[in-house]
């Protein structure tokens, strides 16, 4: 007769983990079953690998649709982890028991709401960003974002709360651990309590959570039955406490009933691996359903309980660590204060009627004693100590996708370590290693793996500097898995991804961006794909602004592509053709624009102008002729016409007199003031040199502003303000000073009063010198 022991645990509960460890070493089973989809079986033997450092997570994903994935995170203090390690290290057979992920993921996919239901208490269904960006209005938003809806109650948490504990782990220690020296007995006692809790569940049988749960428990029982039939002597089952009563063999429903529940479930092909996890993803504030609020605290408890001879009391050692963390932040925390804080925590627990201080008591005591009542210093240490900043690692031998292995290889070669902390990396692209890093990050960015986010590199206009904010988030692993369908190395995947995107892209601007992306990511293969797509698209493109907007990226590709060893001949041909096409269409495209369209057009013209100046030998004559037509037409929106005039003026093709004339004409009373202001904005925006150095223009503008009627002035003011506020402060001051000077000189003349009587003698002397006849 097989002896089955059900250990109902609290996921991520250090107390449960400790009891599980004790139970396993006393029971010495010949088979261990751990809650989790059976697919995990293939990777379980890796848990004892020396390079396997928790927190890690089992990742199961659908091969054909990798974003359909589930994570099974485990920390050192997770009971499942303890059980797996015990079994593998003692050579005991170990298996996972739960509904196969092949079914649960298929069900998820079939329901259309990818991550709405969380199939296991301990897992997180991930919805990568790609999903969010899809305009998927069919997905039920509320359930998808609220994991607690589908989340089964933390049974042990409820029991602890009923007993008046603030911390379920402290309850476990007091109520479960202290009760019986035999760990197996402790779990027996728990099962009864959990059955009570389960009997209070009033949800209807067809509630989706209940259906889900029944399905899972049926699958668990099926695996357990099979194990019993194999004739093991003693089986230990480690599962969430909530499931414990359902797995007691004495209370099993007939096998046929379970088989009926499990019949005809959809199935998909899945793949399984381990990925590194972070302690901050374990914590609640990452929106993780079965998360723990304080992984750092749990780790501390677990280390304390597992130590053969624990040093000191668990609360005091914690406060010592808080004091250390405070000192690292340059805050005073003396040893005497730690003693006081520890005493305070104990008293506080007594005041609150709790048998021992939990984390809330320790935090309150630390705040009152160590931090002078202020919550700020404690917040400083919270993320470091209470949550923790650990990032797990997995050995190289885990079954991994070639793409992930390639990335790991590049990371090693470039000495870039993935870290859960946000850090800034400034790269000097003149150094080969830094250039290679930059290329890697750009490639990953193209693939949608945002490990690095480009940041402002500070006050430098040099093109050799690049700054990135690096932070590795576990869900990036999913993005990588998803990207792996494009290729087996980061480079080939990025190139294939770009080519595919280029074929699908409609807008020229997108293609331009892809082209630049290829350049930065050093993807010559990708460029070929984008260029051929561009050639096809530009020929068909009738709209002028997109054409104009492609000029700058293409010109940049030509200009800098050579430096990076890209063949730009083809690109240059497309560029020249694009410029000619844009120039032909420009004058007609500028006619009849409203304000919004005009501002879009102006941006396009500006960007094209940037591109034109970048590369010598482009057909600039055509460009300037087109701009000349735009500038001289009175039918074209002021903003665009003013801009064209400015570009021509800067190029020296229109002289200042001409501009003054046009300005005067535009500013005359007959033309409507808002149009005039827009023209002025087009002409002046950018930098103020024009106004500062050309007094005439300034005078004209000044005169016009003076002459605008009051009611119209209010309409014009915002436009003018926008124009002038773009100037730098010294420029504005200079303009102001010039204006006040003009004003005083123009007003000075008539204001001078000539006292003829006083000046008489001087005038007559003057006249005499000049040989004039002095009046008598």
């Amino acid at each position: 007769m097989t002896d089955v022991h059900i250990l109902g645990i609290r996921h991520h509960g250090p107390g449960s983990a400790h009891s599980v460890a004790e139970a396993l070493s006393t029971l010495k089973p010949d088979l261990v079953l751990v809650e989790g989809p059976p697919e995990l079986d293939q990777v379980i033997p890796l848990v004892t690998d020396p390079d396997m450092v928790p927190p890690v997570a089992g990742l199961i994903y659908a091969v054909d649709e990798p974003r359909l994935a589930s994570f099974y995170p485990m920390a050192t203090f997770s009971p499942e982890w303890v059980a797996l390690r015990w079994a593998v290290s003692t050579g005991t057979p170990v298996r996972a028991l739960d509904l196969p992920a092949a079914h649960s993921l298929a069900l998820k996919s079939a329901s259309g709401v990818a991550p709405a239901e969380i199939p296991a208490d301990q897992e997180e269904a991930v919805q990568p960003d790609a999903e969010n960006s899809d305009d998927d209005s069919t997905a039920g938003g509320t359930t998808a974002t609220d994991p607690h809806q589908a989340y089964r109650p933390d049974a042990i948490g409820l029991l602890a709360e009923a007993a008046g504990y603030s911390d379920a782990e402290r309850w476990w220690e007091d109520a479960v651990e202290q009760r019986s020296p035999d760990p197996a007995e402790r779990f027996e006692a728990l099962i009864d309590a959990i059955s009570e809790i389960r009997s209070l569940d009033k949800r209807p049988v067809d509630h989706p959570d209940v259906v889900e749960n029944n399905r899972r428990e049926a699958a668990m029982r099926r695996i357990l039955r099979a194990a019993i039939r194999e004739g093991h002597d003693r089986i230990v089952v480690v599962c969430g406490a909530y499931h414990a009563p359902a797995l007691v063999p004495a209370g099993f429903p007939p096998a046929a009933a379970d088989n009926k529940v499990l019949a005809g479930l959809p199935k998909i092909k899945v793949s399984v691996t381990w990925v590194p996890w972070t302690s901050d993803r374990l914590s609640l504030n990452s929106g993780y359903g079965a998360g723990v609020a304080a992984p750092g605290w749990y780790q501390h408890l677990f280390d304390h309980w597992m130590a053969p001879e624990p040093a000191g009391d668990v609360a005091t050692t914690w406060l010592v660590r808080v004091a250390h963390a405070l000192r690292q932040q340059n805050l005073d925390a003396s040893t005497a204060s730690v003693v006081e804080a520890s005493r305070m925590a104990t008293t506080l627990a007594a005041v609150r009627g709790r048998p021992s201080p939990g984390l809330p008591e320790l935090e309150d005591a630390a705040q009152a004693v160590l931090c002078d009542g202020s919550p700020l210093p404690l917040a400083l240490v919270h993320s470091e100590l209470t949550v923790g900043r650990d990032l797990g690692t997995v050995p190289d031998t885990v079954p991994t996708l070639p793409l992930l292995a390639d990335l790991a290889g590049s990371q090693r070669k470039l000495r870039m370590k993935a870290s859960a902390m946000e850090e800034l990396m400034v790269l000097d692209l003149r150094k080969p290693n830094h250039l290679a890093r930059s290329v890697l990050l750009h490639r990953l960015a193209l693939l949608g793996v945002d490990w690095g986010i480009p940041t402002d590199s500070g006050r430098t206009s040099g093109t050799f500097k690049e700054a990135w904010t690096l932070q590795w988030r576990p869900e990036l692993a999913v993005s990588l898995v998803e990207a792996s369908r494009y290729g087996t190395t980061v480079a080939s995947a990025a190139a294939a991804f770009v080519s595919e995107e280029a074929q699908a892209a409609e807008a020229l601007a997108t293609l331009g961006r892809l082209l630049e992306g290829c350049l930065l990511a050093d993807l010559p293969d990708g460029i070929a794909g984008v260029v051929s797509a561009l050639a096809a698209r530009t020929a068909l493109q009738h709209d002028v602004p997109p054409l104009l907007e492609t000029i700058a990226p293409l010109a940049r590709t030509c200009r800098y592509g050579n430096v990076r060893g890209v063949d730009v001949g083809e690109v240059r041909k497309i560029l020249e053709a694009t410029v000619v096409r844009a120039c032909v269409g420009l004058p007609t495209a500028c006619a009849g624009l409203d304000d919004d369209a005009a501002s879009a057009m102006r941006r396009a013209i500006d960007s094209a102008q940037d591109g034109m100046t970048l590369l010598p030998g482009l057909p600039t004559d055509d460009w300037h002729t087109a701009l000349g037509t735009v500038a001289s037409s009175d039918k074209i929106h002021g903003s665009v016409a003013g801009r064209a005039t400015r570009i021509l003026l800067d190029a020296g093709l229109v002289d200042a007199n001409d501009v003054a004339l046009r300005l005067a004409r535009r500013l005359s009373v007959a033309s409507p003031a808002p149009g005039t202001a827009a023209w002025l904005d087009g002409l002046l925006s950018g930098d103020a040199t024009l106004l500062i150095h050309d007094r005439r223009l300034l005078g004209l503008v000044d005169e016009w502003v003076d002459g605008v009627p009051d009611d119209i002035f209010e309409d014009v003011l915002p436009l003018l303000r926008r124009t002038f506020s773009a100037f730098s402060r010294p420029e504005r001051r200079e303009i102001g000073e010039q204006l006040s000077r003009t004003e005083s000189s123009s007003h000075a003349a008539p204001a001078t009063y000539l006292d003829l009587a006083a000046a008489g003698p001087a005038i007559s002397t003057m006249a005499r010198i000049l040989g004039w006849e002095a009046p008598a």
């Binding site: 006081e340 305070m344 008293t347 506080l348 005041v351 309150d364 005591a365 009152a368 004693v369 009542g373």
Partner: protein, 368 residues
């Protein structure tokens, strides 16, 4: 003299007298362990402060309406050998909480040192009866023990009000008392050793500038609890209502407090001016220099109550509170007046249901 008689004769009864029946009831049901010299267990003290119903049906009135957590921390601090420092802006019930803690724990709230800029060292230590000192020479009989010394001898709580107003050198004489729990008397080559149960509750104001900040040596002998201003308007209205009612009884004002809307209005004005934004978060307003704490709202309402009782028909109306409201807001006659008028014209005027308050405040302005 019984407490009831006492309550009718003195202007303001001590906490332990005013709530004597509650303390007795609590002691009767309190079977939890008590720290040495404590009249009640920490649990019962917390119950006394926060209020509630006892197992035997006795209703305990809440003394402090606010975070339960803070009260628990304060009580737990006193049970350790660190002293308690209550910190907060004026009017956040620091003194009030201190007095009730002393009453509940030691049965007496009368051992107080009022900190001022001129508090001498004698107030914290001991003084001399100079006639006796000259006649008999130094002896214990010629000594005049200060409140701290008496608390040490009896093992009870002593309160030090406005600790940061006391000059730094005088503050520092507390260090030995707090760390070694002894008070040396060098003149007699003797010392007073504190009995179990002795502790200090100090209050300090973290708003005033130019006060004598605690030295870090002294600071680390205190556990600090920062008392906040009430979070919600309902909580603040409740605090004001409770306090005004009990003050009204003490001052024997026959007015009724049916006009709860007046309290809500005063509290709203105070909160809005304090936070610099109107209740609906729509309009930004300037904040005057006054603290405008809950205590100010209480005094405005009590004043209004008194006006209504003696000069009106007993119902508190807008014109009863207007004068003291304006007085509470305008502490700086130039700047605060501008701020108040701005508030009056931009906020109060636009609330149709506040027309009477607007009129009353405007009448005050014109009569000035």
């Amino acid at each position: 003299m019984t407490d009831a008689q006492n309550g009718t004769k003195v202007l303001r009864a001590h906490a332990e007298n005013a709530y004597a029946d509650e303390l007795i009831a609590l002691a009767a049901v309190d079977d939890r362990p008590r720290p040495p010299s404590w009249q009640l267990s920490p649990w019962a003290v917390t119950k006394y402060i926060l209020g509630g119903t006892l197992a035997n049906g006795v209703e305990i009135s809440p003394k402090y309406l606010g975070s339960e957590r803070l009260v628990e921390i304060a009580v737990a601090s006193l049970a350790t050998d660190r002293a308690l420092l209550l910190l907060g802006v004026p009017g956040t019930a620091k003194t009030w909480l201190g007095e009730h803690l002393a009453a509940a724990i030691s049965g007496s709230s009368t051992l107080v040192v009022q900190g001022t800029a001129g508090t001498p060292e004698e107030a914290l230590r001991y003084g001399w009866n100079y006639a006796r000192l000259l006649a008999e020479g130094p002896s214990r009989a010629a000594m005049v023990a200060g409140p701290v010394m008496r608390a040490m001898e009896t093992g009870s709580l002593v309160r030090v009000e406005e600790l940061t107003r006391i000059p730094s050198d005088v503050q520092d004489s507390l260090i030995t008392i707090l760390s070694e729990k002894t008070l040396p008397i060098p003149e007699l080559n003797e010392e007073v050793q504190a009995r179990k149960g002795f502790n200090v509750i100090a209050t300090a104001n973290n708003r005033d500038k130019g006060v004598n900040d605690l030295s870090s040596a002294l600071r680390r002998r205190f556990n600090t609890v920062v008392l906040p201003l009430p979070d919600s308007i309902d909580q603040e209205v409740e605090i004001v209502t409770t306090r005004v009612r009990s003050l009204g009884q003490a001052l024997e004002l026959p007015a009724d407090l049916a006009a709860l809307s007046e309290i809500r209005r005063v509290v709203t004005v105070m909160r809005e001016l304090r936070s610099g934004v109107t209740q609906d978060q729509r309009t930004t307003i300037k904040s005057p220099s006054a603290t405008l704490s809950t205590a100010e709202a209480i005094s405005v309402m009590t004043n209004g109550l008194s006006l209504a009782a003696h000069f009106g028909d007993g119902t508190v109306r807008a014109d009863d509170v207007a004068a003291s409201l304006v007085g509470a807001v305008i502490k700086d006659p130039v700047q605060d007046r501008v701020i108040w008028q701005e508030y009056l014209e931009t906020v109060v005027r636009n609330r149709p249901e506040w027309k009477d308050l607007y009129r009353a405040c405007r009448d005050l302005e014109s009569s000035n």
